[in-house]
Amino acid sequence: MSLKNALAPFGIWARALARPYTIPVEDIMRAPADRYRGWHTNDAEACIGCGSCSDICQNAAIDMVVNRDATKGDTGLRPMVDYGRCCWCALCVDVCPSGSLGLSSEYTWVDKDPEVFRYVPGVDKKPWDDDTKGWHGGEWDLINHDRVPMSMLPGETRGQTWAEVVLGYSEEEAQREAARCLECGICTAACPAHMHIPEYIGAIRDGNYEQAVNLIYETNPMPEMCGKVCTRRCEDVCAHAKQGEPVAIRWLKRFATERFDDLREVIKADVAPIGVGKRVAVIGGGPSGITVAYYLAIRGFEVNLYEALPTLGGATFFGIPKYRFPMPSLEKQVDMLRGAGVKLHVNSPVDAALFEELRSTHDAVFIGAGLMRGKAMRVEGEDAPGVVNALTFLLEHHLRNNTDSDKVSKEPVVLPGMKVAVVGGGNTAIDAARVSLRLGASEVVISYRRRKEDMPADWEEIEDAEHENIQIDVQAIPLRIEQTPDGRLDLIWGPAEMVADKPGARPKPVLVEGVENHLVVDRIIGAIGQGPNLRWLSPEAQGTIADKWGWIKVNEDGMTGMPGVFAGGDLVNETADAISAIADGLRVVQGIPRWLGLQ
């Protein structure tokens, strides 16, 4: 040991005069790193209460607690975090489909009471609620926002064929898509029939298709129809829809039902035969009528179903083009009715006398006659030859092509080479346009009063129409129709500008005066809505069950003002879609036994 070695360490005494490294007391609560994961924050208004955070938590730290009323698109639950469990892994943030959950950068919480470390972020006010630092996700997500793409016929070729446009999922695709489901059940609130959506998607994911269709049949006797053409409000509220694409609930239902050629072997009903000896007459073979007939038949009721057209299906038969909903699919569902023992009377329009007879011979009568009257466009020259209503057009077309009915005109309304204009923006307008195209129309134009984003038709339908080279003229208000000297029709329209008259309401189209545009076509199809038509009933009966416009009012059991007469479907609800009609039917399925005192 040299002297230098012994003395050198004393040099460290110089440190005694240097500034200490210690953080001063006043700065001790340092701000952490920007992405430090501290206490939870939640935007309680954006949160939808899907419970994904609770499901993924490995420590079972998150409870869903009742915070507000459940609405469509919000379960009314909000996550409550137990900090006696949390380990700040932020899986809950990364999996949050609404992106509302986050972690602030606050990290200090000291208390003598162990019960306080539990709160509902965003609801129980905390000092760190507005902290923008911390971890708020967004850089990556644990959930898959993109749905498995659906394969379709290419747009340029399908205009020449009646083949189904949508090709359907393969098994692998369906399971992959089903695996995206978060199983929160928010969709069931938006579905009018409140179907068991997460359950059957789970069954599809597990490859248990038989269970899946059984779950579907719990509340829907026309799942293949719904799987193809449902308005699918469920997908609008899907938790995935907040930040990405919703789960393809419709395509999954279609996939499950298409797995089986004959569902009669698969569906296992297990209900008490409470209706043995009771007779129910169903007027109208649309979705609501089929629903009532099927579920009452499996309960032992003797059901007579009267349909004016040669085939069942109602609006789903004559309103929906077969490239969307082919006849075999419809036949499959009708077979289920036959299997359940429903007596089908097709080509049997009901008139006032038969109605009275049905009332006297049956314990209950259900009216699901639908909206059979197309609304007029109310423009000058509407009664010119070549101007047809979309409903008439589609009905005539479907009867001609899919039945042996003789109630058809000599030649189709739209002939090859014609130029067709469709007035309207709903699904019916799109259907009429696409059918016209397939009938050989050289050019099809859709003319709509508002903007494209205001169109009530499905955005998928609009896209499909555009892919098929259908022209869409928007903000076009029809003024009058004139006949040109060469026998064609001139649709004169004026441009509209959108005026928002009150906040929140959708803007109204207002005609720009003085400008007139001409659209010269061979056929004009008006598709601006449908209305009820109860003229087949006696005036007294009409007055008892319906208001002066023909809409039927029913009570919570689906019963009209006339005892024993129930109603449902488009005549009753204004949404005018198949799933609402099915929901009406389900209401009556409960209402009739209750009215008959069978429960």
């Binding site: 639950l77 019960e115 929160c184 059940g185 409140h194 049949y217 719990e218 509340t219 399925v589």
Partner: protein
């Protein structure tokens, strides 16, 4: 590694072999052959280090698997010797005379799986679980969460509502194919 397995096969019956990595081979042997094989490996080959010794519960087969991980540090290769033993009466021969460090593994396995190694010095002496009365906790038929709740309890005052149930109740979800 395959030649080495052939060499073992020449002496002992190798039930199966499974190369996991270029430097890691897994072989399965019968229980009667286990101790002779390990003794031979320890004394006659480079695999004289017992790196790890553990058990796997194959509850479906009614067996435990004992896994001896031996390493040849000179050759930088490892050999996993797997032995299946009966789950109903789990007993295996102790290797503490070959590797003193095996005592702790054997003590732990007795405690966590209930596998007994007769002759192992600290057999039955508590290592981690003092006064354990239930079935050994690493067995797969032991329900940890249920045990934790029963034995320790969780802080009361928490309620959870399943979102699906809440929606179903709020909107009156029903089924019409079955009577519920």
């Amino acid at each position: 590694m395959n030649e080495f397995v052939q060499e073992i096969q020449a002496r002992f019956e190798v039930l199966w072999s499974n190369p996991q990595r270029p430097d890691l081979m897994q072989i399965g042997v019968r229980q009667v052959n286990a101790l002779p094989l390990l003794t031979w490996l320890k004394s006659n080959t480079g695999y004289f280090i017992l790196n790890h010794f553990s058990a796997v519960d194959w509850i479906e087969d009614g067996e435990f698997q004992l896994t001896y991980l031996l390493t040849d540090y000179a050759a930088r290769r490892s050999l996993m010797v797997c032995v299946r033993i009966d789950r109903a009466a789990p007993t295996a021969e102790s290797v503490h005379h070959l590797w003193p460090e095996a005592v702790t593994y054997e003590q732990e396995m007795f405690e966590m799986f209930g596998i007994s190694f007769p002759g192992s010095p600290r057999q039955g002496v508590d290592l981690l679980l003092e006064g354990w009365e239930d079935i050994p906790p690493m067995r797969r038929d032991f329900d940890t969460a249920a045990f934790a709740e029963e034995a320790f309890g969780f802080r009361p005052g928490r309620t959870h509502t399943n979102p699906r149930d809440r929606v179903a109740i709020a909107f009156g979800q029903k089924g019409f194919l079955h009577d519920h």
